[in-house]
């Protein structure tokens, strides 16, 4: 799956806006950008910390190899974090700029979210998509089974927040709810 100018541009735009972002967080932000209609074409699957794209991970590595970003081990935690590099071809910069509005919107929508918060939000969204028009209670049930440390009221609250921010349609209520 090739690294198109749009894919490269979006990843660089996010890294440049956030300055220092964990790889796990970048994955989730790209996931939400794609859910907003940005045509990235990444396939996401459920992984350790919620939806994850192996193709996106490959492209992050490719951009690191090209010195467009820098991927470093997080010495105090787990995984990797990403900062900007100095290789900035015009085509990538231009492609990223075309999606400025949506990138800014997604960053703003999840401002203040730490990795766990993003994990929960993205997992809720992903489960909703996988189950195909489920009611809210079913999504909460499945997410709680996958991530038992998140209590149902917390999951429900985040579900509603995603609805309010138009990432999810208004949930169907379960009968009697």
């Amino acid at each position: 799956m090739s690294l198109t100018d749009t894919r490269a541009g979006i990843i660089l735009r996010l890294v440049d806006e956030l300055h220092d972002v964990r790889k796990i967080q970048l994955q989730k932000l790209v996931y939400f950008l794609q859910s907003r209609g940005v045509p990235l074409g990444y396939r996401f699957v459920m992984h350790h910390y919620g939806p994850y794209s192996f193709e996106l991970d490959d492209h992050i590595s490719l951009l690191d190899a090209a010195s467009a970003i820098q991927v470093s081990v997080d010495p105090e935690g787990y995984g990797y974090h990403i900062t900007g590099g100095d290789f900035r071809p015009e085509a990538w910069v231009k492609a990223g700029a075309e999606q400025d509005r949506l990138v800014g919107q997604v960053i703003g929508d999840f401002q203040g979210y730490n990795a766990a918060d993003l994990e929960l939000a993205a997992t809720i969204h992903f489960v909703h998509e996988i189950l195909g028009d489920p009611d809210e209670a079913r999504v909460v049930e499945v997410v709680h089974e996958l991530k038992p440390k998140f209590p149902p009221p917390t999951i429900k609250r985040e579900f509603q927040r995603l609805v309010d921010a138009s990432y999810l349609p208004a949930g169907r209520r379960a009968p009697g709810a």
Binding site: L3, V45, M46, L62, A65, Y80, L120, V142, L146
Partner: protein
């Protein structure tokens, strides 16, 4: 109990349902799917099949699971019934993880499948819809294991409470990788893939994530074995899986299979119906390739049968410079324009499923007791860079002057 004598693991024992699965036509087909495609054109011992690897993966999966389930330092709270159920689930999933492979394994995966997850899609369909699934459902009722459960473990997109079993089989430190690195090394006659997988299996852990749910982890005693796996992966990739001659044949063979599919179905994709897909194995391709070469229909088929591969004229090496990464496609277009009468094939490690990648896993240290990151702790693999090698091939066999001329053109265009 049925036994198979395996070159790596000694005796692999199968329970009644597993023996029935192995005897089924979809599984027997794996004897006719080569593990490494046409790597035998470079390393002539590499004639092993997906059959042995599937048994080996099941063997290691069982070893790893039983070790995890029995660890006194893991407070898993599984009942005996749950342990039996998960053990059966992981054995079946490991045994069947490659059942959907196409002829010559990964050859042509990016081009010949209509589904984004390629052979994995067919694997799940075979489990769900053929005699394999019927055997699982029939025998699995006692333990509460269904064909759908097994297919879900093999589906990265599925949601299952047994998420860690997916990782145990297919993860970066999973048993699939442990078996094939060792097996491929043996059959190729190289030593690159040798590492202490027994030590690694014995030091696997499970960790409860902050959000809940279990992930695969490692006891610190397995750190060096894990490093050795990554080194094995790196060297097996650069020396075997991405060998320039082997890859030339992957490209030619993909053309052969595409032509054979087109001749059969009128399109260059594997058929959608699982029953039709199962008719495709290495022997079917060889038969069609022989017919196409004999009738003069296929230049690619003739090349493969006569071992007349395209020669590489440009190679970036494992870690290309940044301008090269950005402008490789542009260079290829320029070469095609300059030498318009010739056919050029390009290849990129980025498209290869076995490309060496950085990875991380939680490691449990004992003094002090804490969880740390493998990527942060390991020094042996810190210097390894991800491989993004790119190559260009064309037909310049026997024409050194033209080969050098094209190579110069490429290097003038790119560093």
């Amino acid at each position: 109990m049925r036994e198979f004598r395996d070159p790596i693991h000694g005796f692999v024992e199968l329970e009644e349902d597993e023996a029935e699965i192995v005897d089924s036509p979809p599984f027997q087909r794996l004897r006719r799917v080569s593990q490494l495609g046409l790597t035998s054109y470079v390393y002539h011992g590499a004639e092993h099949s997906r059959f042995g690897h599937s048994l080996g993966t099941m063997y290691l999966a069982t070893l790893a699971f039983e070790r995890l389930a029995g660890r006194p330092d893991l407070d898993l709270k599984w009942t005996q019934d749950e342990v039996r159920r998960k053990r059966k689930l992981v054995r079946l999933a490991a045994l069947l993880h490659d059942i959907g492979h196409a002829p010559f394994s990964h050859t042509g995966e990016g081009r010949l499948f209509r589904q984004p997850d390629g052979h994995d899609h067919y694997g799940r369909e075979i489990i769900r819809t053929t005699v394999v699934g019927q055997i699982i459902d029939h025998h699995g009722a006692v333990l509460g294991v269904t064909a759908k459960d097994v297919a879900d473990i093999l589906d990265p997109a599925s949601i299952t409470p047994d998420q860690f079993l997916k990782e145990l089989i297919s993860g970066e430190f999973g048993v699939d990788r442990m078996d094939y690195l060792t097996r491929d090394s043996l059959y190729c006659g190289v030593k690159y893939g040798i590492f202490d997988f027994t030590r690694l299996v014995h030091t696997l852990m499970l960790r409860e994530q902050e959000a809940g749910g279990l992930v695969l982890a490692l006891d610190e005693g397995g750190l060096h074995a894990a490093e050795a796996l990554l080194l094995a992966r790196y060297f097996m990739f650069t020396q075997v899986y991405f060998h320039h001659v082997r890859r030339a044949y992957d490209l030619h063979l993909t053309d052969v299979i595409a032509e054979a599919l087109n001749g059969t179905y009128g399109e260059r994709k594997y058929p959608e119906q699982t029953a039709a897909y199962l008719k495709w194995d290495d022997r079917a391709v060889w038969r069609l390739a022989s017919e196409m070469a004999a009738s003069g229909q296929s230049e690619a088929a003739a090349r493969v049968l006569e071992r007349r591969h395209y020669v590489r004229v440009y190679d970036t090496g494992p870690v290309p410079q940044r301008e090269t990464i950005y402008r490789f496609d542009e260079m290829v277009d320029a070469v095609r324009g300059r030498y318009a009468g010739m056919v050029f094939l390009s290849d990129a490690a980025a498209d290869h499923p076995e490309r060496y990648r950085r990875t991380d896993i939680h490691v449990r240290r004992h003094a002090p007791q804490q969880w740390v990151s493998f990527a942060a702790e390991s020094t042996a693999v810190a210097g390894l860079q991800e491989v993004f090698q790119m190559r260009l091939y064309t037909d310049v066999r026997g024409n050194r002057q033209l080969q050098d001329e094209i190579a110069s053109f490429c290097h003038d265009h790119l560093p």
